[in-house]
Symmetry: C2
Subunit: 117 residues, 2 copies
């Protein structure tokens, strides 16, 4: 649980109010998140498929990230009808989809400067 009176929290709020850039960075800047979004976009849209895609992530962490992304309206959780046990599929919202081109830019940036170029 976050302490809502900590300097840490206050600074986060300050930055969010200062510029939406900081909001965006808080969404995408935590571990696994961009990989999860990318995996969903590539069809790995179920819990067990994401586990396969990201073999080093723990189930607890994956679950937490998915919940956060759902609250942020980046993904939506959908039950898959007539599956037993009931399957769940995740889909990107338009908000989530619109991150993909930005990920490409960041990826290209990372690649081109990999060796200090």
């Amino acid at each position: 649980m976050r302490k809502k009176n900590s300097t840490n929290f206050i600074n986060e709020k300050y930055l969010h109010e200062r510029c939406a850039l900081n909001v965006a960075i808080d969404v995408i800047g935590s571990r696994w998140v961009s990989q999860i979004i990318f995996s969903i976009s590539q069809g790995a849209n179920r819990f067990h498929l994401m586990k396969e895609e990201l073999p080093n992530i723990s189930e607890q962490v994956l679950s937490r990230k998915l919940n956060t992304l759902e609250k942020q309206n980046i993904i939506i959780k959908r039950a898959i009808p007539d599956t037993i046990p009931l399957g769940v599929r995740y889909i990107l919202t338009s908000k989530g989809e619109s991150l993909l081109p930005i990920f490409e830019s960041l990826c290209a940036w990372g690649k081109s400067y990999d060796l200090g170029a």
Copy 2:
């Protein structure tokens, strides 16, 4: 100091190797960093000017972020000749400059979805 045998560290390495996107996100994804880079690009290129621009950042944190950015080759530190005490100016490398358009995309993304649009 980081523990180089922690799962945390190993996962970070795994993600960096998996895709340069994760390298990029680790550069820009920590607090204040994007604001610092942006401030330098706008001319707030000295320690005391950045303190003015970001009144809530502590000197220790600002110093740490600047050192990290220097090691990552995003900024370069330059002494200002004939100043007493010796002034220091920070300038963006081309690697640093090339983040600016990405920041704009992220900023636009953040703005357009601010109210759950």
